[in-house]
């Protein structure tokens, strides 16, 4: 049996206000070649102006991924000619990347695994190019956009692990406010390195690299296809060749682009225009302070509070959702119950209406008090659901709704006992039958009491008192 050995290179665009080496805006626009200055076009004599915010964000992500960070800022030139590369070299980091030897912990089906991060570096994006039949179009809006590349170790073996790694990585990127990390907008691009080896093998097999994959779904398809392709080659006695491939989405297969991926010599050398600036420990500490509690830590906390693994995973996926949930918990409600409301009710509503948590009219305090009212029996769970819906539709607090609708549950035993007594008095025929042994009629009195209280009486208390009164 063969197993896959998979490493990923993930590129993500930073959400800085301006580009990495110029003051052009870094924002998506449909108007081509509008976010450009002479620097982005590499007009002769222009010089790079590194974006400090980009540096901060890259270091921040390196720290989030438990990487070693360097003591100096240094950029290298990666030299190659391509029409989408204005300077004829890309400013990137080779000598001193912002992150080295980090890791990311994942858990798949309850099994924990640590995925090594080989390196994280900051670089600039190229222009986007559209090839027409007899000509090509170049849009330089993307040229110079800050880009982080995160290179993992070949520590993954299954599609599930890869997707879990990607989902976790995306969460962290969003938590740390590094990028919107939207695959649709091309803000997250993945290169997959994959080889196959026998369980008993001690050396890695020859790998193929599949470049520029834009969605996690395609990542799944690519890996499934490659595992099958490479295994077929190996079992039939063939040899996998080291090459770069791309995914053909119409044919649903990977296609060879070029052989021997290591053959290109990019002639890296340290850029002489950007002075080497040392990074002080204070600067690093300032960055570290801005790192929020990350999803993994939150996940572990929720599990200890009794939240199910599935619910915990879906709550931590988005920082805003998890922040909201933390806020709900801060009002002292039960985590397990609150998580049920979060995942089934609140997140269901958000999905249905395509809203994010910031657009929801129910505050965390509101949800907390709703959860409390239900768990303390002030309203029934059915009432809770109704209140929830009204709160979201009308923007009211649960207290307001409960009051307006007169839903407040009666839990005062004496008050309920009066109603029970009245119900018995009003239905003397049934009372006699009960006394004569038809004990099933207890339910009838419960129903009567609830009806007379207009549904406000706490059913559990009613139940208890009906039995008491009937058996006096």
């Amino acid at each position: 049996m063969y197993k896959a050995v998979i490493g990923l290179e993930v590129h993500t665009e930073l959400n800085t206000k301006s580009k990495m080496f110029s003051q052009s805006k870094n924002e998506y626009t449909k108007e081509v070649n509008s976010n450009i200055t002479e620097i982005d076009l590499a007009l002769p004599g222009t010089l790079p102006l590194p974006n400090k915010e980009g540096v901060r964000k890259a270091l921040k992500l390196a720290m989030c991924l438990n990487c070693e960070t360097p003591s100096e800022v240094m950029f290298d030139r990666k030299n190659y000619y391509y029409a989408d590369l204005p300077k004829g070299y890309q400013l990137t980091q080779m000598t001193k990347p912002f992150g080295k030897r980090g890791y990311l912990d994942i858990s798949v089906n309850g099994v924990e695994k640590r995925i090594g991060i080989h390196q994280l570096h900051l670089e600039e994006d190229s222009a986007s190019m559209t090839h027409m039949s007899t000509y090509s179009l170049l849009d330089y809006n993307r040229a110079g956009v800050p880009l982080i590349e995160i290179v993992s170790e070949p520590d993954m073996n299954t599609i599930d692990e890869v997707i879990e790694y990607l989902e976790n990585l995306r969460s962290i990127i969003k938590y740390a406010d590094i990028s919107e990390a939207s695959a649709e907008k091309g803000q997250l691009r993945v290169d997959v390195n994959i080889s196959m080896m026998k369980e008993t093998d001690t050396v890695l097999g020859t790998r193929a690299e599949i470049k520029n994959i834009n969605s996690f779904n395609t990542v799944k398809e690519v890996i499934a296809y490659e595992m099958k392709r490479q295994e077929e080659i190996l079992t039939s006695g063939g040899k996998v060749i080291q090459e770069t491939r791309r995914w053909d989405d119409t044919k649903k297969e990977t296609v060879s682009m070029r052989e021997k991926v290591d053959a290109i010599d990019y002639r890296y050398y340290v850029d002489p225009n950007i002075p080497v600036v040392s990074i002080s420990d204070d600067f690093k500490e300032d960055i570290r302070k801005t790192i929020p509690v990350l999803p993994r830590e939150r996940f572990n906390k929720y599990i200890t509070l009794g939240v199910s693994e599935k619910d915990a995973k879906s709550i931590v996926r988005e920082k805003e959702v998890s922040d909201y949930f933390d806020s709900v918990l801060s009002f002292g409600v039960d985590a397990k119950e609150a998580s049920n409301w979060m995942t089934t009710r609140l997140m269901g509503y958000m999905n249905q209406n395509n809203l994010n948590i910031c657009e929801i009219s129910l505050t965390s305090e509101g949800l907390a008090s709703l959860v409390k009212m239900v768990s303390e029996g002030k309203i029934s769970s059915q009432q809770g659901k109704d209140v929830f819906a009204i709160c979201l539709d009308e923007g009211k607090t649960p207290e307001e709704v409960v009051k307006e609708k007169g839903m407040e549950q009666i839990s005062d035993e004496e008050a309920i006992r009066e109603i029970v007594k009245e119900a018995i008095k009003n239905n003397s025929a049934q009372y006699e039958q009960y006394k004569a042994g038809k004990t099933a009629l207890a339910g009838f009195f419960v129903g009567q009491t609830l009806k007379m209280s207009e549904g406000k009486a706490n059913p559990a208390i009613v139940n208890k008192l009906v039995n008491e009164e009937l058996n006096k």
Binding site: L43, P44, T46, L47, Y81
Partner: protein, 470 residues
Amino acid sequence: MIKDKSIDEIRDILKTNKVEDVFEEAKVMAKEANDEYNPFVTIMDKCEHINSISKIDGVPYALKDNFSTKGILTTGSSNILKDYVPCFDSTVYKKLKEAGAVLVGKTVLDELAMGGTGLTGHTGIVRNPYDKSRITAGSSAGSAAAVALGIVPFAIGSDTGDSVRKPAAYTGVVGFKPTYGRISRYGMFPFASSLDHVGIFARNVKDIATVTDVLKGRDDKDMVTLPDENINYSENLDSSLKDVKLFYIKEVIESTSKDNEVIVNFKKLVEDLRSKGASVSEVSFDKTLLEVIYPTYFIISCAEATSNNSNLTGFIFGPRSEGATPDEVMINTRSEGFAEMIKRRFVIGSYILEKENQEKLFLNAKRIRNMIVIKMNQLFKEYDGLLLPASGSIAPKIEDSSKPDRLGSEYLILENHLAIGNFGGYPSITIPSGFVNNMPIAVNLTCAQKEDLKTLQIANNIEKVIGGDK
């Protein structure tokens, strides 16, 4: 009226004359000179002047054609940029414009500043004002010639190895490059970024100081620029030669014959300086290190130049050749646009940067550069400045310019020591020191980093001593 005049003299003329008339005269001279000496790629049609209270308000000047000028052709003297009109101003041009200086023309350089003869510009060779059959040296050939011809009192050049200071020596003008980072390089076409400096030509040291005052200062667009210092150079030039400690390098002087008239001239100057109270010591420097200055310079500059010029593809700016694919367009544009000597440098530069050669060639060259700089920094702790002949001879004949034995010790040491100034980013100035066979010769003074004022003060004194000032 303005021919051969200094900045101060022209400022006097401007008291009674219009800026436009002064410009017109310079323009006429420039046009006449271009037929014989070819210093200009572009001569301005109209006088463009912004009023200012600066000391160069209304003063005409020339700018090397590798400084980006918005709306004005900027070719780098290369076919690959023969029709390039930039859309932004270099910081140098912007500062001069705002200081009221009037641009007379853009001057010829060796193609993309890569050359030392003034013979390789795409608009033809630049001839020496003292003898048309001789070179001016380069790469800032046109700027040197424009000042030497008396058309403008100052001109801007760029200096990567000696591209301002050598032509200044051959054309009998003062040529200065301040400390690396003193003047912004933004908008200056890069040759080798770690060695590139903005430089200035003028008729005397004071004018050099005046122009440096306008150009110096921190520029947020060039990260290597130094913080502003609130010292006015031109108003603080007066100083004494007493207690000034200079040195020269024994091995440089001994690399040529004792009878070489340049050496005779240099030794006389040393004596004159001593008689004025300066101390001038002879210092020994590792000869092997001196001999490898040129290959070290060549390796670093070719490597950086290759990548610096990779933007010249015809896609975004400049002439574009035909081709069936983007790659073909790029290959054809570059094949047709660069002269053979430039391509040679790029091939060498690429070779140097290749993975298997980097350690042995590029990194070793950087190490040697560093060794030389460390040694020089030590000497500058003890001495105020290094004084040497700027060149070992007068300007060569045009037909002889490519003949020197490039592996001979005399050439390697005597004609290349100026690159020390670029290795260390030192302020370095060439001052005319006399004539040999009616051709100008010069000395060069190099001081410690950031000692620009001291450099100009000593140079000012040397100028006085040479001029026979009592």
